[in-house]
Symmetry: C2
Subunit: 166 residues, 2 copies
């Protein structure tokens, strides 16, 4: 979450700010994924990132729906956390030439991204219910379910690579 021009006084402000944080994060992930798709060698990893790119575009649309439900204009708030996670992924990718090692690093980076999204959506769903935004909670839950499935898929891909290496 980054600085607003105004202070965060209420739970409404914090809730809206966190929506803007994850909206920005999803957009950064949409920009970062094509490079991860290009770099991934193994078919399942490549395809997993490809399908998550489609999902990510759906998550952005869902967030726009949540903003509309709240009567707010969709906008992003710079999020140093996702910027750091993506920067780390880019840095490590540049360091690796071996395709199998690179795939392992990319899968790990993908899981770090998923876990950031899982924690933010989890928080937003709890706050939605607290604040009576049940419709928003339902929409956000659909994205959370997909993020958890994407993380699980990356775990399975890592395990398959592991069994192949053993």
């Amino acid at each position: 979450m980054a600085l607003f021009s105004k202070d965060i006084q209420t739970m409404d402000d914090l809730y809206l700010h966190t929506l803007e944080d994850i909206y920005y994060a999803e957009q950064q992930i949409e920009k970062a994924l094509p490079q991860m798709i290009d770099k991934a060698s193994a078919g399942p990893l490549h395809d997993g990132f490809q399908s998550h790119l489609q999902e990510t575009r759906g998550h952005i649309e869902r967030l726009e729906e949540v903003f509309r439900l709240l009567g707010e204009e969709p906008k992003g708030a710079t999020c140093p956390a996702i910027d750091g996670i993506i920067k780390e992924s880019n840095q490590i990718s540049k360091e690796i030439s071996d395709s199998s090692v690179l795939d392992a690093a990319l899968a790990a980076a993908g899981q770090a991204v998923e876990h950031y999204e899982i924690t933010r959506y989890g928080t937003l769903i709890a706050w939605s219910l607290e604040m009576g935004h049940d419709g928003c909670a339902d929409i956000l839950q659909r994205s959370l379910t997909e993020e958890k499935a994407a993380d699980e898929k990356l775990t399975q891909i890592a395990e398959q690579r592991l069994n192949k290496a053993a």
Copy 2:
């Protein structure tokens, strides 16, 4: 994960680098937690951060044990991901004056930290088993179990706050 002076050529290099990444991250978390403890108003949140500070010190010692098992010198590698997560937590905290809203933001920030650690330890344990470092996997699993419990505790604290507010 940040840049090594040398390239990452093998899984051994990637494994060691990721250990250095989480070693740095745990040290940054140890530095950040006292401020979060000071800012937390609600007793359970304050106490939760306090006990996690003790756990974090234990995680640092465990990582040093893992480095020793590998015959490596413990050292940290600058990790833009945890730097970003902590920066975001500090920024948002400065924006909030209401103690109840601040507690909600701090709990959310704590969960973002936990999820970063959960994903890194999960990856390292999988790689440890792949590479035959079963002793390292056992040590890292103890920290992962504590990170997951800390995340769960923060969820419970958020729910209690939620029920109180309802």
